[in-house]
Symmetry: none
Subunit: 135 residues, 4 copies
Amino acid sequence: MRIPIQINEHSAEPLYHQIETQLRSLIISGQIEEGTLLPSIREFAGSLNCSVITVRRVYQDLEGEGLLRTRQGTGTFVAGVGDQTREKFKRETVVEALEAAVETGLSVHCSEEEITSIFKGIVKHKYHQLKDGEA
Amino acid sequence: MRIPIQINEHSAEPLYHQIETQLRSLIISGQIEEGTLLPSIREFAGSLNCSVITVRRVYQDLEGEGLLRTRQGTGTFVAGVGDQTREKFKRETVVEALEAAVETGLSVHCSEEEITSIFKGIVKHKYHQLKDGEA
Amino acid sequence: MRIPIQINEHSAEPLYHQIETQLRSLIISGQIEEGTLLPSIREFAGSLNCSVITVRRVYQDLEGEGLLRTRQGTGTFVAGVGDQTREKFKRETVVEALEAAVETGLSVHCSEEEITSIFKGIVKHKYHQLKDGEA
Amino acid sequence: MRIPIQINEHSAEPLYHQIETQLRSLIISGQIEEGTLLPSIREFAGSLNCSVITVRRVYQDLEGEGLLRTRQGTGTFVAGVGDQTREKFKRETVVEALEAAVETGLSVHCSEEEITSIFKGIVKHKYHQLKDGEA
DNA sequence: GTGGTCTAGACCACC
DNA sequence: GTGGTCTAGACCACG
């Protein structure tokens, strides 16, 4: 299975963290189904062009969060995430991100109207981009 | 002068970065006026309960950005920020923060309607909180 | 013959070890009689839903311990275990397990009274459960 | 501060796991107080005669469990564990260990009287050993 | 000085 | 083939 992960070499964000974040999203949003066998750490490391250790760390961390299950000699699988948990997590993630953004707006004394207008612009832009990409 | 900076001990965000971000906001948003004499490095370090090295770094960085000006033997002052610059900065900051949040929403397949509804809730909550606090 | 083995998929304990431990107990405690013909490797692997390699390893290990005997073309049999050996093994197994548990108690500074009280509770619970199940 | 950790070179238990288990016990049982600055990873690695990486892994894992707090450039501290949490954890740990031991006893058909007698012997032995050591 | 990340490479255990 | 552990050593960021 091909796992769509984008790595930004120039970012200050650690490699393992970029991979972790994206893989977590893929699992929780349901884009990778429960029970799926992920690539072996060596294979994944090859395709991501990073060290085996980095992939291992990602798998290990996500296993710690209960999102993956791994069995020695067999491989690493996507563990079950209940639909409830998934929805709850999705919502939490988004709420957290938006709260941080609104806090930022407050800290620079951006008015309610202004931040709302900016938000609408961004959403329109990003979501239309998506539709165009899909079309 | 008392500079209102909140440090989060538990955050993974480096100390110097927390301070820098907040001080920058205070200056650019105009909450600290041009020409204000900031506390000495040692005094500030004392009140923030952090190392002088950390404060020195903050002052240096912001001086590098042209937001502060240091006069030998006198102290560190807030440099002038044009109204244009201020507005541009405010907008940029908010746009950046919201874009990141919307990206997060996209990554977990949150719909346009859902993210908008969440956003409105948060804005209402945060901005009313503010008004109540001011009242 | 149906061999009652419970496999815990989520445990970190290797498959072969789970099976080995349980099969060893069954043989030594006499729950599988001497001379019993065990299932073929393939059959057993099928019913345990694991690899034949895993079952082969179990049979080999237990044969190495003298608990099983393999006859070419015939199958794998339970070897004889003297009553003395059986009693010694039972006692050793239990002593070992309890020692480990008490060590754990010591390591967290659990008092003698407390650990004894907890033990009694567990024994009462587990052994009554058993009687109820049998009744 | 001197952290009393015993490493068993010959054990099959991974190094990092031995260290983790013992350090966790020390923290939760309150033998290392909240706020204590642990040795730096390099120093600890030296005294334990193992790799820096192994110590780092231990600190990282325990931080993940919320038992440690680490700040770059400063060091690693013991995080607060409420008295309630501590007692609950202690009890859970012991209960778990004893349940496993009693299960083992059941699996080899050890009688209630027999296992109780063995337990008493072990407790007497271990706890008296302790008192002698302290005296 | 501290921790944080990443590397390459080895050896083992499991299936 | 798979994952699990441990190593040495490098380089960076933080205080």
